[in-house]
């Protein structure tokens, strides 16, 4: 196998010209994306350089404490991201806690299970395996939960008259919101199912591509990619289902009354900076 072709700062600067070209086009077309694009690009550079340095240090000293710190940081940021993507998020602690708790349970359970039972590095928390796996789990589970919860709260808001009409007919709260709950879980899961269905045909998944670029035998890279896709889909599925089921229950009180005042009604932060 050939070794990896090393990229220099000059190579990356050339790549940055592509972003500048896109920003120029955005400016000419009045898309209002220049600021977001520039800030996101800068954040990509800074955040990735920092995490590169952090991972280098963590890999050099295998200490479970550092892995816990990194994992919790990922969890907090992902939880905040789930909250920020809700047009009508739950008020108070629920806004952050619901997504973060669902992510915590599904992501950690599945990652630890995969490390202990399938990959079996020694020690099992070897950061070279644990941190990339956790990162991919968080990234995808976060998307699924954010999409699903947004769908749930939006639909409940828009269909409040229907939900209350069903409650007035004597339906239980879980019946009154059954279709909305089902659609919300589907919304959260469909991207992962589509990704699995098109993997290798339309898209070459990022992790596999990275390993191939690093000179790994493609067949070995594929094995890892299959493992990743299965664990990420399971994590996204379980996390999304947990968040939607708990969220749907929290839309009602003990008398099974619809309690939409538990949602914030502020406008969508579509233009929020990252």
């Amino acid at each position: 196998m050939n070794g990896l072709v090393m990229l220099t700062a000059a190579d990356l600067s050339l790549a940055a010209l592509l972003i500048l070209a896109l920003a120029t086009l955005s400016l000419l077309m009045g898309l209002g994306l220049v600021r977001s694009l520039v800030i996101a690009s800068l954040r990509t550079v800074i955040q990735l350089i920092l995490i590169g340095l952090v991972l280098k240090a963590v890999f050099a000293h295998v200490n479970p404490l550092w892995i816990v710190v990194i994992a919790l940081t990922m969890l907090l940021v992902a939880g905040r991201e789930v909250m920020a993507r809700q047009q009508r998020r739950f008020q108070g602690w629920w806004g952050f806690g619901l997504g973060a708790t669902a992510m915590f349970v599904s992501t950690f359970t599945i990652t630890v299970l995969v490390l202990l039972v399938i990959v079996q590095p020694v020690p099992w928390y070897t950061p070279q395996y644990a941190i990339p796996l956790l990162g991919m789990m968080f990234g995808n589970t976060m998307n699924g939960i954010a999409l699903g919860l947004d769908q749930l709260t939006q639909q409940a808001w828009q269909q409040r008259a229907v939900i209350e009409a069903r409650l007035a007919l004597g339906q239980e709260s879980h019946q009154a919101i059954a279709e909305i709950r089902r659609d919300s879980v589907r919304t959260g899961l469909i991207p992962m199912i589509n990704a699995m269905a098109t993997a290798g045909l339309v898209s070459l998944p990022g992790m596999m591509t990275g390993q191939i670029l690093a000179g790994i035998d493609p067949v070995k890279a594929v094995n890892y990619q299959i493992l990743i896709m299965f664990m990420v889909t399971a994590g996204t599925g379980f996390g999304t289902i947990a968040a939607i089921v708990i969220g749907a229950r929290h839309l009602f009180d003990v008398r099974q009354r619809l309690r939409l005042e538990r949602l914030n009604s502020d406008e969508y932060h579509a233009d929020r900076e990252f």
């Binding site: 209350e164 409650l167 007035a168 007919l169 004597g170 709260s173 009180d253 099974q256 009354r257």
Partner: protein, 230 residues
């Protein structure tokens, strides 16, 4: 000709939570119920009795019906009581209460395009005929039904579940006079056959006279009993 005499009733006439009235099995009693900005509501309706609720738009009639159906939350520190035949509403789950104390909104809601899927109990052909509907309406998608057809079907959807109390929010608002009279007759028959207690919000004085035995009017946040029918 029966007439209403618009005089405020004495407070004693407003408070009656006993279940040993005629039709006691279905007596609805409400004491001190907070409803939005209204003065705490106290009223009772005997089984087999229809009480009309009047008042200007925005006076709180719909909120009153929703509150009795236990659809709106009540601040925890407020003490109030709602009973059905003497049994407190907390004795029932929210869903059980609303199956017995059924609220029919002024605007009907539909969540499947198939009419039949909205019915937990299949109505008989005579039920449709009584409301001026043809049974073939079951074969048509909801999106093809008129507002009036939907309103009558929404009422039928509730009646087949045989609630003990009906909370009707302008059930004939989008109907022509013939259909409106058919609905009045269906509710009258149901009320008598099942000894159901009925609260009927209406803006139509003639209809109030036709369908109700008592008339309560929401005025400046207070529910005032008008004199009983002569």
């Amino acid at each position: 000709m029966t007439e209403y005499n618009y005089q405020a009733a004495t407070p004693e006439a407003e408070v009656d939570s006993r279940s040993d009235l005629p039709g006691g099995r279905n007596v609805l009693a409400v004491e001190g119920l907070p409803v939005g900005d209204l003065e705490a509501v106290t009223l009772s309706v005997a089984g087999g009795q229809c009480v009309a609720i009047g008042g200007t738009s925005g006076s709180g009639k719909t909120r009153l019906l929703r509150a009795i159906a236990d659809l709106d939350p009540v601040p925890g520190h407020i003490e109030y009581r709602m009973t059905l035949a003497g049994r407190d509403h907390l004795h029932f789950s929210g869903a059980e209460w609303r199956r017995r104390v059924a609220y029919v909104a002024a605007e009907s809601q539909w969540w499947f395009d198939d009419v039949a899927r909205h019915f937990s109990v299949t109505p008989d052909a005579e039920h449709y005929q009584a409301l001026g509907l043809d049974i073939s309406i079951l074969q048509r998608p909801v999106s093809h039904l008129s507002t009036g057809e939907r309103q009558r079907l929404a009422l039928l959807r509730v009646l087949v579940q045989q609630p003990q109390v009906l909370l009707l929010d302008e059930p004939t608002a989008s109907l022509d006079p013939v259909a409106a009279r058919a609905v009045e007759q269906v509710i009258e028959d149901y009320r008598q056959r099942h000894q159901a207690a009925v609260l009927w919000v209406s803006h139509d004085p003639a209809q109030i006279q036709r369908v109700s035995q008592r008339y309560l009017r929401l005025d400046q946040g207070r529910l005032i009993e008008q004199a009983a029918r002569v």
